[in-house]
């Protein structure tokens, strides 16, 4: 049951595009910075299969320049 958080950095001028792409993905919660080009992304998946599907979806987003992982939580409930 992984919960993870990332900093997502958009390509120049693509912050709102990235924000809407991330918002459309079911297990993602996004918190955009108001004054910088970075978005906090929290992912919440039920199992590894979902985690992998999510990974593929994230990798397919064109407006994303770089992901940095910040924390990971593995909970049993």
């Amino acid at each position: 049951m992984p919960v993870k958080s990332y900093l997502a950095h958009p390509h120049e001028g693509k912050k709102s595009e990235l924000l809407s792409a991330l918002s459309e993905i079911e297990c993602c919660e996004v918190i955009p910075a108001e004054n910088k080009d970075v978005i906090v992304l929290v992912t919440d998946t039920a199992n590894e299969i979902e985690e992998n599907i999510l990974k593929e979806k994230l990798e397919a987003i064109e407006s994303i320049k770089l992901f940095s992982m910040v924390s990971g939580f593995d909970t049993q409930n």
Binding site: S5, L7, V70
Partner: protein, 775 residues
């Protein structure tokens, strides 16, 4: 507060968001998130966050481990650590998940009649101590050995050194850092007379250029690379990747320059030629702070047992050095290095521009090199000629691979020639060690014995009859394991292995001791930037798992050395650290007191008057400078660093008709070293389940090899079958293949060559000749 599963999950998500926001706040000062989001974040919880350094790489990121009911349930980056400012890489934040692996070693195992029998730990330690004693009585003290690690904690390394050198009186102690950092050490000592980098990670915030020498930082030092990318995006800093293979680092860099294996020696000299030829030498710096020297040439490769080499340094002058460099004009070097004249000149112009700050980074590419010491010297030459050293954003920076290669292997000195301060060959250093250890001075032998490769050769020859390995897996990580695995299986040597999980090394052990993992014990690590970091035990380990330091102490007591090891089980980490600190007292290497390290996320030595020293040898920052000048290289008696005349010499084995490919080996981001921990972390194992052999697409086409097809890689020493990987993670140049070494089921080190740098004795895992064929 009673937390139900649902609101517990919401809470955890908030914690995750908070961790990311805190990291962002450190990276982007003044960053604002929507206030209602922040207000929503809960501050109270039953999670107890404990600080420490990451278990894995030499970057030494600060972590916070969330402990709930005695279990580690979460890991996040420590926002107070100036190393990572809250960031972690994929290994870092999954690290604690290996603790739960089903095959964890929880009890001692003793081999009886060919079977492992679970044995109480105290009985197993009796067997180890008796065997060690008996072997010494029968065959002499040089018949027993310990082989430890750059992942051992500072107290673990310290008691191993005290037991072997101070109590028993043998220098048969070496460690796996010989395989990764020894050339960096000899590079520092020959050029500056003092080990470890002069700068720190804060250099990243100031440099205009980062030049990486054979170093895939995006995978090996990912958090530092993220910080570099941040500077690239924020203020246009440039990253130049100089390597033999195209990697993730190359694609993220501004420019990637490829060179033919081993010719980095020639290119570095060509850069120096160009700097002198163009008049870019910082003359006053060189006149005030540098000497010139040359050493022996055609120095061999250590391929034969009992190989010996001692360099004979000879002073030269600037004119002689300049003349030597005439062999290395960009035009001449371009012919065999594969680097164009334009690119050599481009690199030289970056270093030569007085208005640009440059940091050079390297790690295994330069260190695991049969001329590793020379390569380190040559990059120092570039920085010394231009005076770009020991200043914020300007300097050569040798990165370490392991989390405490600096703190333990180098500073405590778990090498055969080392003592906690200085070397065994120096009488003053032996006298100091004898005084602090309270042993007769004569007991510490003045001659080094076996470095890592030679230690396992001695096991093979039957000279070593007892060996104890701790925190390391040599039968996967040594070069030419095709020789050393059968050697360790021989009845002539009694093998003791302390580890957390079973490995191919523990498979050949007579006694297996169950070690505590990282957060199940207290400890200290020292990272690449001279930062010492402490952590307290966070959770209980399973079964009879015991900290390695305590197992060494228990064996020492059983051997009759109890008076030298008067530490208490509850407090031994603190007691040992306080004893060890005495070795480094003074402005040149003072270590921070433990109460400081308990409070903050590490401190950089020299720690003087309550302050870390970020840039050594620069009088503005380093209180040990005493020559009245701006810079003082006080590691050398005359306070001057040395610019070394070191030529290009070929690799011992190069591709030929029979073995037409270069073999290069290394790591991947998902796995730590031999994979004994990270392959037990499901998400990492799944992301990178097995090793592979990378091809250039043209080579694959010629050999009609397709992606995923099994291929046999063979050298004169052995072979290994792996699936082909074409244009996936990395892209070798034509005529080269690359294999990561983390997979114990695909033992690429059966194929590698045990040639080493004659000065550092560090093996070259990056170059040997192989043939490849469909399996």
């Amino acid at each position: 507060m009673c937390i139900t599963p649902t609101n517990r999950r919401i809470f955890i998500k908030k914690m995750a968001a908070a961790a990311a926001m805190t990291a962002a706040a450190t990276m982007f000062p003044g960053i604002v998130f929507a206030s209602e989001q922040e207000a929503n974040l809960s501050s109270g919880s039953d999670l107890d966050w404990k600080k420490g350094p990451c278990r894995f790489c030499g970057v030494g990121c600060g972590i916070l481990v969330g402990v709930d009911k005695g279990k580690a349930v979460a890991v996040k980056g420590d926002p107070n650590s100036s190393v990572n400012k809250g960031l972690l890489c994929v290994k870092g934040y999954h690290q604690t998940m290996c603790i739960q692996a089903k095959d964890r070693l929880t009890h001692a195992l003793v081999k009886k009649n060919g079977r492992y029998v679970e044995t109480p730990i105290s009985e197993a330690l009796d067997i180890v101590a008796n065997k060690m004693k008996e072997t010494i009585e029968k065959h002499g003290k040089d018949s027993v050995a310990m082989y430890t690690s750059g992942q051992s904690t500072i107290p673990e390394g310290y008691v191993a050194s005290k037991l072997m050198k101070g109590a028993i009186g043998t220098n048969n102690l070496d460690c796996n850092a010989r395989l990764c950092m020894a050339s960096a050490v000899t590079g520092f000592l020959t050029t500056f007379g003092a080990d470890e980098p002069m700068g720190c990670y804060e250099d990243i915030d100031y440099a205009d250029y980062f030049i990486t020498w054979g170093n895939n930082m995006a995978e090996m030092h990912p958090v530092l690379f993220s910080r570099m990318l941040e500077e690239k995006n924020r203020r246009g800093a440039k990253i130049i990747d100089f390597a033999t293979r195209t990697t993730r680092s190359s694609s993220a860099s501004d420019k990637s320059i490829l060179f033919e294996p081993q010719t980095d020696l020639a290119v570095a000299n060509a850069i120096c030629y160009e700097i002198i030829n163009k008049g870019w030498v910082n003359k006053s710096f060189v006149e005030k702070h540098c000497n010139f020297s040359k050493g022996l040439t055609n120095i061999g490769y250590g391929l034969e047992d009992k190989f010996k080499f001692t360099d004979k340094p000879e002073k030269i002058d600037f004119e002689a050095y300049k003349k030597f460099l005439e062999e290395y004009t960009p035009e001449k070097v371009a012919k065999y290095s594969g680097v164009s004249v334009k690119d050599i000149k481009y690199l030289a112009a970056i270093y030569g521009d007085p208005n640009k700050k440059v940091v050079s980074y390297w790690c295994m590419g330069m260190n695991q090199h049969t001329r590793g010491t020379w390569m380190n010297n040559l990059v120092y030459n570039i920085h010394l000629l231009t005076g770009k050293i020991s200043q914020p954003g300007n300097g050569p920076f040798s990165l370490t691979g392991q989390p405490s290669a600096c703190g333990t292997a180098r500073e405590v000195g778990t090498f055969t020639h080392k003592l906690p301060k200085g070397v065994v060959t120096n009488e003053k250093h032996r006298r100091l060690a004898a005084k602090i250890w309270k042993v007769p001075y004569e007991r510490i032998p003045a001659k080094p014995t076996y470095h890592a490769t030679e230690m396992f050769r001695a096991v093979d020859r039957g000279d070593i009859k007892f060996i104890w390995t701790q925190v390391t897996n040599p039968l996967v990580s040594l070069p030419k394991t095709s020789r050393y695995r059968p050697a360790m299986e021989k009845d002539s040597c009694f093998v003791v292995v302390s580890d957390v999980f079973p490995t191919p090394t523990s498979d050949v052990a007579d006694v297996i001791l169950p070690a505590s993992w990282h957060i199940e014990k207290s400890g200290l690590y020292g990272n690449s930037e001279r930062r010492t970091q402490h952590w307290d035990k966070m959770v209980e380990g399973p079964g009879e798992t015991t900290p390695d330091a305590w197992m060494t102490i228990e064996v020492a007591k059983r051997m009759g050395f109890g008076d030298l090891f008067p530490y208490s089980e509850e407090n031994h980490v603190e007691e040992i650290y306080n004893e060890y600190r005495q070795f480094h007292e003074g402005a040149k290497h003072g270590m921070a007191p433990l109460d400081v390290l308990k409070k903050q996320s590490g401190a950089i030595w020299p720690y003087v008057d309550g302050k870390s020293t970020q840039w050594r040898f620069n009088a503005k920052y380093d209180p040990a400078c005493s020559n009245g000048e701006e810079f003082h290289f006080y590691g050398k008696p005359d306070g001057k660093a040395i610019i070394w005349q070191r030529p290009f010499e070929p690799a011992p084995e190069a591709p030929d008709d029979e073995y037409p490919f270069w073999l290069n080996t290394g790591r991947v981001i998902e796995h730590w070293h031999t994979g004994s921990m990270t392959r037990r972390i499901p998400v990492l194992h799944k992301a990178m389940p097995s090793a592979y052999v990378e091809f250039h697409p043209e080579d694959a086409k010629i050999l009609s090899i397709v992606n995923g097809e099994n291929v046999k890689v063979t050298s004169r020493r052995g072979s290994c079958i792996l699936p082909a990987s074409i244009n996936e993670r990395g892209l070798p140049t034509q005529g080269q293949v690359f294999v990561p070494f983390f997979d114990e089921n695909m033992m690429i080190n059966d194929v590698t060559l045990d040639a080493f740098c004659p000065i550092s004795k560090e093996p070259d895992y990056k170059k040997c000749a192989v043939k490849v064929e469909k399996a």
